[in-house]
């Protein structure tokens, strides 16, 4: 059956409602919450800090370590606490999604640890995690080329659409899910996965939708950072002092 109308009434290129907040874990170096529809992720950054065991250290630049975890009550069927093969894979692709945006040359031998926890899951969790993690990294002051954003696009019941929810992911008559992460300034793709079947032209269309979606997400991320850091006026004193030192 062709998927002619979305279960929640959205347009095919419409995102669910997004809420982003920076600085949600007080003692972390950087942190953020990212909510899209009913999916809620929080991310916290600790680092740059000493890395043990020593053999893992890179003398040329710092390393990034991403940990993704779903809280046991984030879905209907309780998830046993602890890492799973899925969470380890997501940790890795998240690392590879964020790394191209980071400049870790200033921290040789150190590690930047990113921890992502999913509080509530309604599909698109790894993308929400990446969006939260980017904000947390910026909040921590890690030098970055761009703020990475991510969204799931896909094909459900023959229709190409943006931001699948769980019902769409589980759609009986065919569902393909394609999480995409990008550095939005130059639309550089840093995460791309496909779970399902798609034709070449479908993929082209999906990527176009992803680029559009990421521009919107980028704006929301900017607003979240501005909300925490925006200053209205700079005291002359600060300018002068910084110019001298």
């Amino acid at each position: 059956m062709v998927y002619s109308k979305r279960v929640d009434g959205r347009k095919f290129d419409e995102l669910r409602e997004i809420e982003a907040k920076v600085g949600v874990v007080k003692s972390a170096d950087g942190s953020a919450m990212f909510k899209i529809g009913d999916t809620i992720a929080i991310a916290a950054v600790r680092g740059p800090r000493d890395l043990y065991p020593k053999f893992m250290q890179n003398p040329k630049k710092g390393i990034l370590r991403c940990n993704y975890n779903m809280m046991s009550f984030s879905v209907d069927e309780r998830i046993r606490p602890g890492p799973s093969r899925r969470s380890k894979e997501i940790g890795l692709v998240t690392e590879n999604a964020l790394l191209p945006a980071l400049n870790l040359e200033e921290f040789p031998n150190a590690v930047v640890d990113v921890f992502i926890e999913i509080i509530q899951a309604d599909a698109g969790t790894r993308c929400a995690g990446i969006c939260a993690a980017s904000l947390a990294l910026a909040d921590a002051g890690i030098p970055m080329k761009d703020i990475v954003c991510a969204i799931s696009v896909g094909k459900v019941g023959g229709k190409i659409l943006t931001d699948l929810n769980k019902k769409e992911e589980d759609y009986e008559d065919g569902s393909s899910d394609m999480p995409v992460a990008m550095l939005p300034r130059k639309n550089e793709i840093s995460l791309l996965q496909l779970d399902g079947e798609m034709k070449q032209e479908d993929i082209d269309e999906c990527l176009k939708l992803a680029i559009k979606a990421c521009q919107k997400i980028s704006e929301i991320q900017r607003n979240a950072l501005m909300e925490k850091y925006q200053t209205n006026q700079i005291d002359d004193q600060v300018d002068k002092e910084n110019q001298d030192g």
Binding site: S27, R46, M71, S74, F115, E117, I119, Q120
Partner: protein
């Protein structure tokens, strides 16, 4: 993190003050939020000062324990997330995590907080298993009391899913969990000769000994745990229990 030495704390305590200006038996500001995760049967977020934890209740159907064939089961788990403190590492729960969970478990079990008999579906075969999972979000001291309070809040909010034709339908949650008591935990630490309620990060770090006391509405004590490497006098214990009874009432008020 700030380096606040033991000397600085004891010097401040000698002047009759705590670093944040609280009285010795006073709790920090407490905030409870219910229903932070919709797929949980019940969930909560508790803030005690800057300490923050999440708790979620999930129900599954399983076999009862052989020594209690007509009662539901309780399983409490605590994850001390590395995102909540520089001092927590990734990996399976360490002994601190396990102690925290077991002390919460003890209070809930021994006070008959949940009427487990009402969670029996078919004697000797099928009962409801109540999973309480606690996650630390920010450690600013006294995760113990925050964890217990969050568990109670999540239990209070929890609704039982429908069990029909040997399957659980999580989309249909109707009846609340049968609760008979809310056993609140209150922790006291001892530094030199001074007893402090609701220790913050530094008071907890520099404490000689710690006593957690769980109390019920009937002013009964249903669980206790002394932690830490130091000692307490019988008088310390008596005073800590008094403080726990008093503060327990205040914390329980917050659950309403």
């Amino acid at each position: 993190m700030d380096n606040i030495s033991r000397e600085y704390i004891t010097k401040t305590l000698d002047k009759g003050k705590r670093l944040d200006g609280r009285k010795f038996d006073e709790y920090r500001d407490i905030e409870i939020e219910y229903g932070i995760s919709k797929y949980a049967e019940g969930s909560s977020r508790v803030r005690m000062g800057d300490t923050e934890v999440f708790a979620g209740v999930k129900l599954e159907v399983g076999e009862p324990f052989p020594d209690k064939p007509d009662g539901g089961t309780i399983i409490v788990n605590v994850e001390m997330l590395p995102l909540s403190s520089d001092e927590f590492e990734s990996g399976p729960p360490g002994v601190d995590s396990i102690e925290l969970a077991r002390v919460v478990d003890r209070a809930i079990r021994e006070s008959n907080c949940i009427d487990l008999k009402k969670l029996c579906i078919k004697e000797k075969e099928k009962v409801w298993m109540v999973f309480i999972d606690i996650y630390t979000i920010n450690n600013a001291g006294n995760l113990q009391d925050a964890a217990c309070l969050a568990s109670l809040a999540a239990l209070k909010q929890a609704k039982i899913p429908e069990y029909k034709d040997e399957k659980i339908d999580y989309s249909k949650r109707k009846d609340k969990l049968p609760l008979t008591s809310l056993p609140v935990e209150c922790t006291t630490v001892k530094i030199d000769n001074i007893l402090l309620s609701d220790p913050d990060f530094y008071e907890e770090r520099w404490n000689d000994a710690r006593l957690t006391v769980a109390t019920t509405e009937k002013n009964e004590i249903c669980a206790m745990q002394k932690s830490g490497k130091g000692v307490l006098s019988a008088d310390d214990v008596r005073k800590a229990i008094e403080a726990s009874l008093k503060n327990g009432k205040l914390l329980r008020e917050k659950l309403k």
